[in-house]
Structures are given as C-alpha cells and as structure tokens.
Subunit: 153 residues, 2 copies
DNA sequence: GGCTTACTACTCGGATACTGCTTGTCCGAGTTCAGGGGG
DNA sequence: CCCCCTGAACTCGGACAAGCAGTATCCGAGTAGTAAGCC
C-alpha cells in the first residue's frame, strides 16, 4: 500500500489540530520530516477528493474542507490510491486451454467474488472509523495538541 | 496486490479438480496461458507454506498437501505475499519538528492501530472462506470439472 | 492624503527523472524411468 | 530369465534480467500583499 496514505492521515490530523487558516505544504512536511514536493502531490489528490481545499498565493496552503467527523479512513485511502482495488481479477479463467474449452462465462468469477467479499469487509472497517476517532485517541495524551501547534506556528 | 495470488488460487482449484498424482508446473501454466517459470515460482512459495508438496523428477510436479476444506484464502495470500501487511507504519510521528518536540512515544501509533483494525477485518474475512467454498461455487456449473480434467490430461 | 499600479515573493499545480518491487526468464541440481549388459 | 548399472530426460529450485508503479524532484502559472508613484 502506498506510503502516501500514512502521510495524508497524519497531515489531515495536523491540519485539524492547527485549525483555521491554510497551511503550506512545506510547513506540513517539515512537521514530520517529509519531502515537501511529494506531500504536496498527495495534498493535491486530497483536494481533488474534496477533503481539503487549496488556497493559492502567499499565505496560502491547504485547509480542511470538512470536519474530521465526516472524513473516514476509506475516504483518505480512496483519495490517495485512486479507487483501485486490492485484488484485480485478470480473468485468467478465460485464457489457455481451460478458457478455450469452456463456454463463454455467464456469471462472475468465483475467485474474484470471494476476494471482493473480503475487500468489502476491509472497506467497511475503514469507513466505520472517522478521523475524529483517531483524534480522540491522540487526545488521551494531552500534550499532543500543544506540541503540534508549537511545531506548526 | 500481487497478481500471483490469482494464479495460485486458480491453480490450487485445478489441482483439486484433477486429484491424485502430481502435475507439473508447465501443464498447470498451460491450462490458463500463464508463464510456466513464474507460476513455478509461486508454487514454490505455496510449497514452503505447506499448501502443496513438490515431487521432483520425471512424472513429478505439485499436488495438494491438504484438502481444500482446510485451505483458506488467507493461507494463500500470506503464502504468496509473505506476510507483509497492507499498511506499514513508518512512524513518521517521531520524525521532523513534531517528533523532536514530542516525548518518546509510549503507546502505539493511533493511525497505525486504526489501519490495523481494518486490515484485521480483511484477514478475518479471508480466513472465513475456504477454497472448498469457491469450489462449491464453481460446481454450480457442472461442466467445469469435466473441462478442467480434459484440459489437464 | 488617498488611490492606482506595478512589482515581488510566495503558494499551488503539473510535467519530469529515479528507485524498488513485481513480473518474467534462464540454467543447474536432483530424481525417476528406461534400456542395455552381465550373471 | 532376472538383476544391476548406466544413461537420459524431465522435474523442481534458485539465481539472474526487464518493466512498471510508487517515490521524489523541479520549474512554471497564478495570486495576495507591498511599496512606490501619481492625482
């Protein structure tokens, strides 16, 4: 899985901790020692998914488009990964000797269906958790907010 | 996700349909028009995971090590993927400005924990389905067994 | 003094290289089978 | 006729390249703020 998902999740949480005005990608990258340009790329994908809004010009940057309560892990994963599924069926059942001898398939591939069921469970578990839940977890260490705010000032 | 998982699943099902003696990787590859050498590589990983047993020499090949009832989708995925997890936490919370200002972390990363929960749901859904379930699905088209046997004779 | 205007600096945005892993290929080690020779 | 031995062919097994997606980088387009100039 793409490393950018981790970057995006932490960055979205940081954006919420700061609150208010837009924050530049350089500043956000510096907070976790990331590559500014590449984080910018991820933020662009989050902007396309309308999870953040981008503000051009000086004093510009990115800010959250919605409260964390309505942003699920699935939203972030799909924004970064681009909606590609974990298991991609290439329909090999239709190739080779077996494919030639078999009649054209009328129903879905059973292997694909089974893998999809599992993937569906994953997606459901992702969509059941919002970023606000993670924020609540982080707030159990009270210093966190303070540290993040002073690191992004 | 690796394409080899799909290859392995179909090949394991074919091995069961044939039943009995070992089948060479070349023959199994021909059944679906796959690269013989690469399929052989996947079968070796299945052998290491003790899902199949390899028989060297002429008339050798691979045969199932267990009945399909006790082989789950998770077994196959882990055999091919090698136990790597979908989301790998790189602990970026300990890097950069935030990492320097934060005290050494005492608990697990909340982002990682949330992603792990979702991944756990995926793995559980995978382990809840055995290859015998997929075989049952395939047997709803009665011709299937016959086609596979004649393709691998 | 107030307004307009040009400039500068800073931001996003997309086009451009690089790297690691999945994918694919090749050749060697080992084993079974077959055939020939000897008892 | 039966047994042993040698050879060959076929299999797995791991070491060796190629292609591609993820990773990382750079520079241009656009905008807000600023400062100077003009009315």
């Amino acid at each position: 899985m793409a490393k950018g998902v981790e970057w995006a999740l932490h960055t979205l949480l940081n954006l919420d901790m700061i609150g208010g005005g837009p924050v530049g990608s350089g500043q956000l990258a510096e907070a976790h020692g990331l590559s500014p340009s590449y984080l910018n790329k991820q933020l662009q994908q989050l902007a396309r998914a309308e999870l953040v809004v981008s503000v051009p010009g000086p004093r510009g940057g990115f800010r959250l488009a919605k409260p964390l309560e309505v942003i699920t892990l699935l939203d972030v994963v799909e924004a970064i990964e681009g909606g590609t599924q974990l298991f991609h069926c290439t329909e090999i059942r239709c190739c080779g000797k077996i494919g030639e001898l078999s009649p054209p398939p009328t129903d879905a591939c059973a292997v694909n269906a089974a893998m999809r069921r599992a993937e569906q469970a994953w997606r459901q578990a992702l969509s059941a958790q919002s970023l606000a839940d993670i924020r609540a977890e982080l707030d159990r260490t009270p210093m966190t907010r303070q540290v993040i705010r002073s690191a992004l000032n």
